[in-house]
Symmetry: C2
Subunit: 224 residues, 2 copies
């Protein structure tokens, strides 16, 4: 009799709406390990709390929280440099916004790949969204496909790891509906870039989230 | 009159032979910023000392030392997990050795790209060697070309950063000869994987280095 080894996936989880729904998708497929990154973002502690609450909800024991504190020292983003204001209300601009953290997702993916290679996980899930988003270059399908080739060439010949981005072409409203359908714990998530007690409602991340809930006709459980 | 802005390059520098020669090459081309990574490697403090000595030699003020301590926690390598012995004397094996740190160069490159994007540097130099080396998958031209595409797609449209790997096809003997020709401070470098006082002479890194110096007919200034 052949012993079937259970599939293991790593999910990159910030603790926001998108990563909670992505965790729900991955948890249906098999065993999940959750990876979270602190990188000096303004809401670092609040995001970590949301991450752990989501991990508890899915009873996920394998968690890795990493500190990429050099992203704070490198700066260049409103999320990591307190002297750059977090913009409000310009969510439909075509330019890359100042909340872009330079090449951040490459750091997250590199960490997920190193961990996946040691754990022998075969997938890395990331809840990136391309169209209905802030327009970060490291959130595009094109970037993830390029990074996939870097994984294929830069790891051991026997290592096979696939990046999965199930939300990449979805709208926020579709993500909200999918989250509700999968019973994802949306009440435990945190999306606000600025505040950690009550969501500000004005930053890009709050605006995109609220528009998604409104369009889906669902009440956002964390909105006061 | 057009003002010519001086070119800025970032050099990834461990403090070893290859990165010292790479720093010498980059320093001839223009202004240099040096990036070093601690990642729980056995000789972490000794490498950092060599890195700073090389930076002092070239009078480089812009230095960034980062801590990728999660590579130590992720483990899976003889360099970061003390329970895995550093092998000796098998430098011509075709298999990926246990000193391979999973996907390490992707972490180094991600950090260099983030820093380059903020500093507006146009090049990232890395002293990787493909043929006359330990056979790490993340030290191959193929990997760097794939990562280049990830940079092109994952950074701002106006960002133009090129990975340069001037040693990729050289033998260790050629690197030693080039270092001597460029007056690189080979006496300040450190290559040993195991020891921090006197090089062990037996690990892959010592063996490759010593073979390079011997073939080049140059005395290694750090050999007792």
């Amino acid at each position: 009799m052949k012993i079937k080894t259970e599939r293991l996936s790593i999910v990159l989880a910030s603790g926001g709406l998108d990563s909670a729904v992505t965790t729900a998708i991955a948890a249906k497929e098999g065993r999940v390990a959750l990876l979270h990154a602190n990188y000096g973002q303004l809401t670092e502690a609040r995001e970590l709390k949301a991450f752990n609450a989501i991990a508890d909800f899915y009873d996920i024991k394998e968690r890795l929280t990493i500190d990429i504190e050099h992203l704070r020292r490198i700066g260049g983003s409103a999320l990591t440099d307190p002297s750059i204001a977090v913009p409000t209300g310009d969510v439909d601009s075509k330019a890359v916004p100042v909340t872009y953290v330079p090449f951040r997702n490459a750091h997250f993916l590199a960490s997920a790949v190193s961990w996946a290679e040691v754990l022998k996980a075969d997938s890395i899930y990331i809840g990136a969204v391309e169209a209905d988003s802030s327009g970060y270059p490291d959130c595009t399908r094109e970037f993830f496909l390029a990074f996939q080739t870097a994984i294929n060439t830069g790891t051991k010949p026997e290592t096979k790891i696939t990046i999965k981005m199930p939300l990449i072409d979805m709208t926020k409203a579709e993500i909200v509906r999918l989250g509700v359908e999968l019973n994802a714990p949306l009440e435990l998530t945190w999306s606000c870039y600025k505040d950690s007690e009550v969501p500000c409602g004005n930053c890009d991340s709050c605006l995109l989230r609220l528009r998604g809930f409104n369009t889906a006709g669902v009440r956002d459980p964390i909105t006061p």
